[in-house]
């Protein structure tokens, strides 16, 4: 097991460097520099431009800039935003709880509904329900997030008035951010009704963000379940006279969930990518929106290190999933 972990860890180092190099290069390939973008149609005084570029360390040759970046990174310094002049790590920490809260809610929605729908579809294979679930999940998978989000807002928020349009809470509640998780902060605050309001704000973005993972999880659960239900041990369990529920949930689902677990891990990447759009539509102050704005403002440190932090997170989650998978499946653990 240890050598398995060591092998996995060994792969992380080149991945990490690849990400730093790629983000460093890509953001600089986009034309325009931060000072020019800020000035727009206005005149850019050459002297002021030179001063600003010098202060920001952008007047050095690119290899020197990359070396600076990597040296600072090795010292744990993620630099500061060129636009707001605040630390990248501090900004990330402020915004990440919002993304995490949204992603967890989306995963909860997608996981619960996806597994239930997948199991029922497998049990009723070929039925109208099965075809319905598969059809809807295909549609869900192909749904453009932006369009889907606006559609839900128009219907539920504007037409029916059931849910708020956007944001994390009605701003007439003055909630001091203590943990950064709005549901927890509203519970900690003394403001009545704030928790419910925050929960209502979470529903639509969680549905929008959870739609693609939901489709993937439902289809994956269905096919894994179908496979497991054909296994000999299920026939044996049934022959032993166990109740259908026990056969399905204890003997079937437990084994079918192994591949679904991997899918969960992979969905973290999808969720974080989806968060970029979902957060923009729902004015959700998380890291997705942060990165979009940073790209627009050519805020190099935020783009480089923000993406690096997200990449680390995705790598970490997949690493944990790999380990978990190795734990539950000896065949993976012993592969050379």
């Amino acid at each position: 097991m240890l050598s398995f972990i060591a092998r996995r860890l060994g792969l992380l180092i080149p991945t990490f460097f690849g990400v730093t190099l790629l983000t460093f290069a890509l953001i600089r390939l986009i034309p325009g520099d931060p000072v020019e973008v800020m000035m727009g149609e206005r005149r850019v005084d050459p002297e002021m431009h030179a001063e600003a570029m010098h202060r920001l360390g952008l007047d050095k040759p690119l290899p020197a800039q990359y070396l600076d970046y990597i040296t600072k990174l090795a010292q744990g310094d993620l630099g500061e935003s060129l636009r707001t002049r605040e630390g990248v790590w501090e900004e990330f920490l402020t915004l990440f709880p919002a993304t995490l809260e949204l992603s967890l809610a989306a995963l909860l929605f997608a996981g619960t509904l996806g597994v239930i729908a997948g199991v029922i579809a497998a049990l009723k294979r070929g039925s109208l329900f099965d075809h319905g679930v598969m059809g809807v999940s295909l549609a869900g998978y192909s749904m453009p997030i932006f369009w889907w989000g606006l559609l839900l807002i128009m219907f539920f928020s504007v037409y029916l008035g059931w849910t708020p349009v956007s944001g994390r809470i009605d701003l007439l509640y003055d909630i001091e951010p203590k943990t950064g998780f709005m549901l927890i902060d509203t519970l900690l605050s003394e403001e009545e009704g704030a928790f419910k309001d925050a929960l209502m704000h979470l529903i639509l973005p969680a549905i929008v963000l959870g739609t693609i993972p939901l489709a993937v999880i439902a289809r994956m659960t269905r096919s894994a379940m179908l496979e497991v239900l054909r296994e000999d041990y299920i026939r044996t369990a049934r022959a032993k006279g166990l109740s259908p529920a026990r056969v399905v949930f204890v003997h079937g689902l437990r084994n079918a969930l192994i591949p679904v677990l991997t899918v969960f891990g992979l969905q973290v990447g999808t969720l974080l990518a989806g968060a970029v759009l979902t957060e923009t539509i729902f004015s959700w102050p998380g890291i997705g929106k942060w990165l979009i704005e940073a790209i627009g403002a050519r805020d190099y440190p935020v783009v480089q290190n923000g993406i690096l932090l997200i990449a680390c997170l995705v790598i970490l989650v997949n690493f944990v999933v790999d380990i978990l998978y190795g734990l539950v499946n000896p065949r993976i653990r012993h592969q050379r």
């Binding site: 034309p31 727009g40 149609e41 636009r83 707001t84 704005e293």
Partner: protein
Amino acid sequence: MRKNAVIQALLAAGLIASAPLASAASNLVFCSEGSPAGFDPGQYTTGTDFDSTAETMFNRLTQFERGGTAVEPGLAEKWDVTADGLTYTFHLRKGVKFHSTDYFKPSREFNADDVLFTFQRMLDKEHPFRKAYPAEFPYFTDMGMDANIAKLEKLDDHTVRFTLNSVDAAFIQNLAMSFASVHSAEYADQLLKAGKAADINQKPIGTGPFVFKRYQKDAQIRFTGNKNYWKPDDVKIDNLIFSINTDASVRMQKLKAGECQITLLPRPADLEGLKKDPNLNMPSQPGFNLGYIAYNVTHKPFDKLEVRQALDMAVNKQAIIDAVYQGAGQLAVNGMPPTQWSYDESIKGTEYNPEKAKELLKAAGVAEGTEITLWAMPVQRPYNPNAKLMAELLQNDWAKIGIKARIVTYEWGEYIKRSKGGEHDAMLIGWSGDNGDPDNWLGTLYGCDAVDGNNFSKWCFEDYDKLIKQAKATTDVAQRTELYKQAQHILKAQVPITPIAHSTVYQPMRKNVQDFKISPFALNSFYGVSAGK
């Protein structure tokens, strides 16, 4: 089971409770478009940054009247100008208090030291505060103030004197602009001593109508009404909240749903839906902006006047107003908007005449099928909501007179950089007024000094330039008006640009918002505004 019960109880509590702020005080939620880069107005250039700083928390020596371009006293009660126009003496207002917050308690009222700190920090690169917290002041530089202010002196606690190198007729207007917001020197000292100079950009202290409470990045900015404001009648809101929403459609939906009471200018496509909403008011006024085509006169065949005239008269402007501005625009005939003083009403629009245009091209020796590039902006701007569509219409108009326009577009930063470098043949661009002075149009956009900058036509015409320089160097308004009128006639005759439209500005708001005034400078100010239930 128990957990369920707790959640149920919490939900029930939520159902019967109402938001506490809603019942206690007067609140206004403004749906803004983005997070400010910081809270030190001098460092920034955009409306998003100014709305949440200069317009809410700060004052300037002089200020623009609410909803207008006229200048009125601000922190300076009055001022004297010497006959040569080079020395300005400001008599400062007494009894003005800086904000008192949990991070700063002022021990004195506003005085001349604050003015000196504010301007010397921008003027002097060796200023101790600037050493501790290096920053650039791009707008201050852009308006030429760093080069033109020769000396700044404190005559006594309530009198300061600016001495200029050359006459700048727009000096008083420039001081009213957001970047010239006055900081507290006492607060700056406190920050410097504590080694926290950078906090000037995060924890603002001003004298303005609203006091900073809290900023949650990308989510909200909270202000409270300044109970000690020197113009108490201007503070009618207890809690002013900026709700940050980057997507324009979401802002409109939030306004309709009552989640905010006022928002930024809508897109033309949203106008109809908003007008029909019975809960909304939507005042409008002609925009203090201009969308235009700039012809690069350094490129052939645009060096020939007949060619520029031909292209100008081949543009069906009304079709553009209908399609691009969807009616929310006013036909432009001149190089600045009609609400700008010194605008010459006698100048008439060019007649739409493709036949005559063809003849002019023929006379200029331009062959049919000549190819040119037409640059279209990749972004929506207040003066041009859809440059790509406008370019397509122009392509069609010019095809009718035998000119083949190839539409070119770049990412916004690159677009500006390349066009300042003069790579284009013809391009779509525009301007929104900064300070209400005619020079901000006629000099900034078409003068010889701006050829490497905002003069996208690269047009440098001696007779014209002489007039606008002369006008800028005199403070007599009547004389300036006369000079600018002459300049406008030359501009019209020489056709370095084709003015297209001044977009009409619509400001959607809930019906409970009272006394909001649309700013010609596209800023959003909430002093003097009240919000009923």
